[in-house]
Each structure stands twice: as C-alpha cells, then as structure tokens.
C-alpha cells in the first residue's frame, strides 16, 4: 500500500489502437485476445444448449425437428469442446501466467503464440461457416461411416475448422514446453515451480502428442468423403471402428487437456486461500504427469459397445481404473491442504470448493463407466451426458471462472464486486447441479441421449434440468457483466490483493510489458507461506 497502486507503464497502456493488439507479441495481450475469442464461442455454444433444454422441457418433439435437434447438440458439442473447453484455461490463463510464474519475459516463441491465436480464429471461422450454411449433424465425434458417406450436412468445413484449430493447440503446447524447459528464472528449479506450471506442462505434452492424431484422422475422413478414398467405409472392406480408435486416441486425452489445467488452477487457489503450501507437493506434481501418460492408455472405454474385442475391452477397462489413482491423489492432497488451514472464503475459493465437489462426483461416475458391464448398461444414455458435464462444466468451467476471478486484479488492475461475485458463484453451483444431477437419474432409468422426444414419465426430471439450465445461464452472464464493469469502475488493485505468494504477485497489477521491473531471482520454495522473506513481500 506504500507504493502507487497503478504503475505508470504497464502492458495495457503500452501502445493503443487496434494494431497494437492485433499485431502484439506480448503473451499477456495474446491471452486477452484469446479471452475475447473463447468467451464469444462459449456464448455461441451456450445458445445451442439453451435451445436443446427448451426442446427437452416437453416430451414431444415440438420446438425443433429431429434433424434440427441433431444439429443443435452437434454444434453445441463442437463449439464447446474445440473452441471453448480445450483452449480456455491454457490459452487464456496459461498464456498470461506461464511466463510470469516462471520469471520469464515472454514465451519462447512470441510470434508463434500470436500465430496460434490467428489459427484458432481461422478454424473458428470455418466451423462458424459450417454452422451458418446448414449446420452439422454428425455429433461432435464425427463417427464414420455416417460422416463420410451418409451425412448431407456441412461436414467438410466443420472438420476443416477443427483440423486448423488443432494446430493452434499444438503450437501453444509446443511453446509452453520449450518455455518451461528453457526460460525459467535463475533459482526457479523444477520443484519450486507452482503446480499450475506442472499441470500446464502435462497438458502441453497431451496437446503435442494427441492433437496430431486427430489431425490425420480428420484428413482421412475428408479424403473418404470428398475423393471417395477408402479408409473406414465397409463398402471397400474398411472398418468404421478404426475411426473411433484414432478419434479417441486424441479425444480421451483431450478431456485431460481440459481438466489438467483446471487442476493447476485449483492448486493455486487452495494454497492462496488456505495460506499453506499444497500438501504433498511432489505427489501433486507427478500426478499431473501420471494423468498425462495414463490418459493415453484408456481411449477404448468409449467403444465398449462398438464391436471391439472383449479382451481389448478388458485391458482398456483396467487401465481406465488406473487414472483414478493420480486424480484421487490430487483431491486428497487439496483436502489435506485445507485441513487446519486458515481458509478465507473469497470468490475464487468458492469456485475451488465447487470444483472439488463436482469433479469428485464426475470422477466417481467415471469409474462406473470404466467398468465394462455397467458401461454397457448406461452407454448412450443421459448418465454419460451427466458424467462428462460434471467433469467439463463442473470441473473445467468452475476452475476457469475461479482462476479468472483470482487473477483478474492482476490481469486488469481492478477489483470486481466481491458480493456480486460470491452470489454468482453460488448461482452457478446451484444451477449446475439442478441441470445435471437429474440427468444421472434419467440416464440410469434409461433415457437415451441425442433424441428430441422422450416418454412422458421422464418429464419431471427434464423440467428440473431445463430450469437448472436457465439458472446456470444467469450465473454465467453475471460475471461477464460485473467483470466488464470492473474494467472501468472497479477499485484499483494492489500488486498483491490476496496476500498470496508466487512470482505473479511480485510484480505490479497490471504487470509491465517485460513482466518485471528487474529480472527476478528465486530463492524461496513454492507456496512458502511460512517464511519471513516471503511474508515481507506481502
């Protein structure tokens, strides 16, 4: 509080005008470009969700036709998965924080970083084009042979959009890996890194190892659809299940692209709001790597009923159970960190608690699905839908919002309205559970996914779900409004409004373009809340 709150020069006033943003190489500005992009596509994807829930409020398919409904859930899935969930945390929070947290001036390849944003936007443009020119009805999974020989919707532009966006993901991962290896500040050893960095490192590995397989798979689909090549088409002896193998080789690990960075955010939030180092730091760090590796060994649990070999199914089932171990290690260690910590219940911490609860439910129901017998019972029912929304929405989006609130003062230099923020967090939590918990029951009772009509006995639970969705929608609009409002009217933030440790709090809010006035030298351990040298900073 002794120094002036806002530095005279920082990355936000270092150049004005549209060009200074669209041609920037500053990772912080690129993070904000991504923030604009993912927020926009989140609300596009959300609009489709609104229509889906409206249709499902009544048992008869009265609002939209069955074919339109196919397009609605497809485009909801495509937009949310590829253009929001996968880039959200790494490209926005990761982009902003990875260099600062390790004490670097920028990512290793700033131009590549900017290029990856343009690639993302180009891919999004293709997919948006597919949406406005008739839409896509294959489901976000593009299963063959429907996608290659039967569907009459805009498969090619949509697939091309995803193919292109994949490269933005690859380049972000590549940039993070090189940056974390080569650009750490003096004294910033691997085991002094914040867990946010470990989880982004693990995420980057998945991006780099998995995404190219999706890329080639999309090319094979495109070649089969456009040139009548034979890769998956049974007419020439191809195996449609092979498509599923290749697709899920990427798309199962992609779930970890969504959830690992979220876990990194949660580790930061828990430490900051319990004023303690994360319990069992090395275990949490290695659990990230373990999840990244094990995540590649389980993909066929999406294919138990697709006609794969029983023996392969058994192997994939066992391996799927293994992923639960590092995930449980994390949940255990976060809980242990909170134990006897001086917990302060500010907005980011509310999101962190919400994450732990919802992720645990999502993870445990995932174990149901890893068991072959139970999986066959609930395959393609609302049980699956509920399960992955608990992971992706309850997990990833909770952590994303928690992180956005936690680092908002750093990003914007402003404080948001704490009371409104707390209310919104609560609204989101209630709305989320009301939306998706009934879907577990619906699925268990046998309601299949991807139909626009259903038997009347499922209506009560569906109405609950639709009601929850409208609450959830309000919950998502609120932060959008008060965070934007705070940009102009919010109180000025100090360099370290939470009294947290970590290099990002050792620089001004907002940080200068080069991130630090002096290149930092790290002499303390991660989350060193006890040490006088660190408390002095606070």
């Amino acid at each position: 509080m002794t120094t002036a709150l806002v530095p005279a020069r920082h990355y936000l006033n270092d150049g004005y005008g549209i060009k200074s943003w669209l041609l920037t190489r500053d990772h912080k500005r690129i993070a904000l470009l991504y923030l604009a992009g993912v927020t926009f596509f989140f609300f596009i994807g959300g609009a489709f969700a609104v229509l889906i829930r409206l249709e499902l409020a009544t048992p008869v398919g009265d609002l939209v036709s069955d074919e339109t409904y196919n397009k609605l859930f497809t485009m909801h899935g495509v937009m949310m998965v590829f253009f929001f969930l996968i880039p959200a945390i790494p490209s926005v929070l990761g982009n902003f924080l990875v260099p600062i947290m390790i004490g670097a001036k920028d990512l290793a390849f700033p131009k590549l970083n900017l290029a990856s944003w343009y690639i993302y936007m180009l891919g999004a443009a293709f997919t948006t084009y597919a949406i406005v020119t008739g839409g896509l009805d294959t489901g976000w999974t593009f299963y063959t042979p429907f996608s290659t020989v039967a569907s009459t919707s805009a498969v090619i532009p949509a697939a091309l959009g995803i193919f292109i966006t994949g490269f933005s993901s690859i380049l972000t991962g590549l940039n993070f890996i090189v940056t974390i290896h080569r650009m750490r500040a003096p004294g910033m050893t691997w085991f002094r890194l914040p867990l946010f960095i470990w989880s982004h490192y693990a995420t980057s590995l998945i991006m780099v190892l998995g995404t190219p397989v999706l890329a080639i798979t999309i090319l094979l689909v495109a070649a089969e659809r456009v040139f009548h090549f034979g890769f998956f088409d049974p007419a020439v002896g191809g195996d449609p299940v092979l498509f599923q193998h290749l697709f899920w080789f990427y798309s199962h690990p992609a779930v970890y692209i969504m959830i690992l960075p979220a876990m990194g955010v949660i580790s930061e939030l828990i430490a900051a709001f319990c004023r303690k180092p994360v319990y069992g730091y090395p275990f949490v760090a290695f659990a990230s790597l373990a999840i990244a590796v094990l995540g590649f060994l389980v993909w066929a649990h999406h294919m138990f009923v697709a006609g794969i070999s029983v023996y392969a199914a058994m192997i994939f089932s066992i391996l799927s159970f293994l992923v639960a171990i590092p995930s449980a290690v994390k949940v255990f260690n976060w809980t242990a960190t909170m134990y006897k910590g001086s917990v302060s219940w500010q907005t980011p911490m509310l999101y962190a608690i919400g994450f732990i609860g919802l992720f645990t439910i999502g993870g445990l129901t995932g174990l149901f699905l890893a068991a072959v017998g139970l999986d066959i019972h609930v395959t393609d029912t609302y049980f699956i839908v509920a399960h992955f929304h608990y992971i992706m929405v309850g997990g990833t989006i909770m952590a994303y919002l928690g992180g956005l609130h936690y680092w908002w003062p750093k990003i914007s230099g402003r404080l948001y309205n704490e009371w409104l923020a707390k209310v919104s967090a609560l609204v989101i939590f209630v709305g989320f559970n009301l939306t998706f918990f009934p879907q577990f029951i619906l699925g268990y009772l046998g309601m299949p996914r991807r139909y626009h009509a259903y038997p009347p006995e499922f209506q009560v639970l569906n109405v609950l779900s639709s009601a929850g969705a409208s609450i959830l929608g309000v919950g998502y609009l609120l932060p959008m409004m008060y965070l934007t409002w705070s940009l102009r009217y919010g109180r000025l933030a100090s360099a370290n409004p939470w009294g947290a440790v970590g290099l990002e709090w050792n620089t001004t809010s907002p940080p200068p373009t080069a991130n630090f006035a002096e290149p930092p030298e790290v002499t303390w351990e991660a989350y060193d809340y006890g040490s006088p040298a660190v408390v002095e900073h606070v």
Binding site: P110, N175, V178, H181, A215, L246
Partner: protein, 218 residues
C-alpha cells in the same frame, strides 16, 4: 536491457544466442514429435488393413514401380547427405558452400517430386485412383482400393512435407545469401535440417511398406 553488443539476431526475451538456439532446437524437436504422431495415425491404419488383407496389398503393391521407388529412395538419402553437409558448412561459416549444398538439396528434392509426379500420372492412366473409376482384378477390387487410398494419402502427405521443406530451403538460401547465417548464428539452417531429415525418415518407412510387399511372388 539490450546492450549495444547484442547480436542482431538475438530476440529481446532471451539472454544469449546460445539460450535462443537451444530453445529453437527444442522447439523443432517437439514439432517433430507431433509429426511422428501425425504420420503414426496413418501408419496404424496401414498396419491394420495390411494384416487384414495381405493378398490384396501384395497384388496392389505390384502395380507400383520398384525401380522408380528405389531411385527416389536413393535421391532422398542423397539429399539428406547434402543437407547435413550444408549444416556442416554453416557451422564453419562457409557461406558459398552452404549455398551450394542448399541448392543441391533442393535440386534433389525437385527430382524426387518430379519422379513422384510421373508415378502419380501412371496410376492415373491405369485407373488406380480409388473411387468409382477404380479398376483392378475382380478378386481384390475392394481391398486394393484401401491400399491405393493409403498409398496416395501417405505419399501425398509426404510430398506435401517435401514441398514445405523446399520452401524452407528457399528461405535459408536467401538468408545465407544476404549474410544472416553466420558461424555464430546458424541455428535456422540446423533446425531446417532436422525437418528435412525427418521427411527423409518417413520415406525410409514408406518405401518398403508400399513398394516391396510380396515381390517374390511374381
């Protein structure tokens, strides 16, 4: 922060050229990992269908020209040699030699693509393009299409990588010519070389897998 003695090629966020070079090299290696997995997807596809339809694959492979395939393999390996020599010359700061070897590498790459074009043309005239116009002995008509789909996809993607490599070499040639590449700063040539060698390695696998199946049978 940038002191006046800093090398013109040193970017603002690195402390030294050495650090910058290590980052660039690691970046290229990580990129090559993505390439391995990219081609890995189609190699997996190949492995499955070859194990399912060995006879059709052998019959279809016989339609490929071993002589041209072998010549192209030799051409590509030679281009890898000239590439390695270009990097070597760059390490020693021999500008003319760098340019000569780069031109040789590009020339050999051009020869490879030319031969590939001739082969494609033959396949086109022999109605071996998969799809409705595909013609083949009745017994293997369906499965041979999978082979040729793989053939065109694999060699096509490989050729695309060659063309990109050709473009990279053009840039390197220009940089060498205008003096950007020096004894102190040759990492662009070195990492371009990594890419070129990788494309060579892909062909090293494609050649026996596509051209040399069941050759003894006839």
């Amino acid at each position: 922060m940038s002191d006046i003695h800093a090398h013109p090629a040193l970017a603002h966020h690195f402390d030294s050229l050495e650090e910058q070079k290590e980052a660039a090299t690691l970046g290229m290696w990580v990129f090559l990992v993505t390439e391995v997995l990219f081609f890995g997807g189609i190699f997996a596809t190949y492995a499955i269908y070859r194990s399912w339809y060995p006879e059709a694959f052998a019959a279809a492979s016989h339609e490929l020209d071993v002589t041209l395939g072998t010549i192209n393999t030799a051409v590509l390996i030679t281009s890898s040699l000239t590439m390695a020599l270009a990097v070597h010359a760059a390490q020693l700061g021999r500008r003319t030699k760098v340019m000569v070897f780069l031109v040789l590498t590009m020339a050999l790459g051009g020869v490879f693509l030319g031969i590939k074009g001739v082969e494609y043309y033959h396949k086109f005239t022999e109605h071996l393009i998969p799809g409705p116009g595909f013609q083949f002995e009745k017994e293997h008509l369906r499965h041979a299409q999978i082979f040729f789909s793989l053939y065109f996809m694999m060699t096509g993607l490989h050729a695309l990588h060659m063309i990109i490599g050709f473009g990279i070499m053009l840039v390197m040639l220009w940089w060498a010519w205008r003096g950007t590449i020096t004894k102190e700063y040759y990492s662009p040539i070195e990492i371009s070389g990594l890419y070129w060698h990788f494309v060579d390695i892909v062909w090293i696998f494609l050649f026996p897998l596509l051209y040399l199946i069941g050759r003894h049978a006839h």
